[in-house]
Symmetry: C2
Amino acid sequence: MHARVSAPGRAAVGEGEGAGSALDRLVRTDWLLPTAAAGVFGFTAKFESALAGVQSALTRIHPTGTDGPSWHAPVVPRGPIERAQYTDSFPHLLGTVHALPPSTGDGAGTREDSRVPTDTVLAPAVCYSVYPSLADTTSAGPRCFDVAGTCYRHEATSEVGRFRSFRMREFVTVGTEETALAWREEWTERCRTLFAGLGIAVRVQEASDPFFGPGADFMRSSQIEQSLKYEFVAPVRRGDAGTAIASVNLHKDHLGERFAIGLPDGGWAHSSCAAFGLERIVLALVHVHGDDLADWPAAA
Amino acid sequence: MHARVSAPGRAAVGEGEGAGSALDRLVRTDWLLPTAAAGVFGFTAKFESALAGVQSALTRIHPTGTDGPSWHAPVVPRGPIERAQYTDSFPHLLGTVHALPPSTGDGAGTREDSRVPTDTVLAPAVCYSVYPSLADTTSAGPRCFDVAGTCYRHEATSEVGRFRSFRMREFVTVGTEETALAWREEWTERCRTLFAGLGIAVRVQEASDPFFGPGADFMRSSQIEQSLKYEFVAPVRRGDAGTAIASVNLHKDHLGERFAIGLPDGGWAHSSCAAFGLERIVLALVHVHGDDLADWPAAA
């Protein structure tokens, strides 16, 4: 039925990799389409079918029901990223968007070296689209969000599973300290159930944010002490000791304070999010269930 | 059922716009989520439901069947964009991705003004993921591709419908001159049928590439003379005289030559693509059929 449609990139099988590598296998078995940029891929219709299944599974486990996520652009205003202090904590992971200055016409102004920063950066996580919408207000009650989009992190390495450009689904709450704590606990249990249903054996581990840049040792140890982050770790390729495919994060009132989201009784709102790396979950499913979608369990 | 999930951005209704504006209306009626960056939006679950319907309609009209598009990252390697001469033709529309240099650690190296261009730029169109996969080869026969992804164009204006970040679906062929010409003719007719079925009254017009930058007058007039581009134009908001929601493009052997895609009998491959602006099509549907998805025709 679809004999005549092919996917770009097949000709580049195993580009820059040994023929037996994990990447080569994923290309050969019709999951990934390599590009000349390390960690940047196209995803075949087969991969997208699996990813849509993961999205449906995530929609189904939502405790109070969701119509599905809102979808957010891969570029976001720079202001909220600075306000969240991402630019301070992870400057090396942030991709910024540059363009030619609008005032220049032809000639010198079109030289590549005359590019200047625009008002946008590449989104490092989807929940940075949530907090600005509540900024400088007093929250009337707990708010829940279901969001998704494409993120970018300027990773230094590009082993299979470490995408520079990847899609993320997040369930976020903003409310009282009790609300945020309960969200963290409930979503940690919900993730265990989800991954068990998908047939993925996960290890749950306390973690510092793996994206903390150099010099962040104090923040890292402090985060572990307070159990702010649980990662769900599973192999995403043969020989992989484990890659984080999801995480549940408690931000305490860090983002509430940064975005001036007040509580009715005073103090800053607390927040918590459950974040799912959609491509990594698909790779974990491929690793467990193999290359034929017909062999996958119905829940996936 | 979904009382507890809300979408980010509701609090920012009409930000920077009059309360009766087209943007305000789209925010108030639960389609768009504004951000602080002009032309950059989040899309509600309701919008995504409509966009999924458009994707299904596009999949259904494919003449030889398709499993759906491959999905391409919003960032692409810089090399193919330069090789396609996009950097020469539309330098002002291109967004480039910059990051801190890898060799620097803390301190001076993390200063925002020390950012340098990376190996990636924001994709200006999805079909730039196709031609590199065929580059420097001889094409054995006509190839067809079904691709989608998020594009960026650094537009100078941001009226409703002129997104800086938007999703595009493209059907691309690479083959002989006859193959490419037939593709252009067939997809032009197919688009008429598609939009009639969706209830969108389109005007089909020959056009230069509306994204040609300053100084491209020669290319523009030359392109019109050769009938290389047909646009499908429809209103996407009240008072809109017409916005291009799709286009069918004949590239002749321009890209075949640039990417050194040879034909078995000699000469360079010709190419043609049918490109669909997914968000603009949704806005055209909203404009015609209103704010309640239950009132929309089944084909949409």
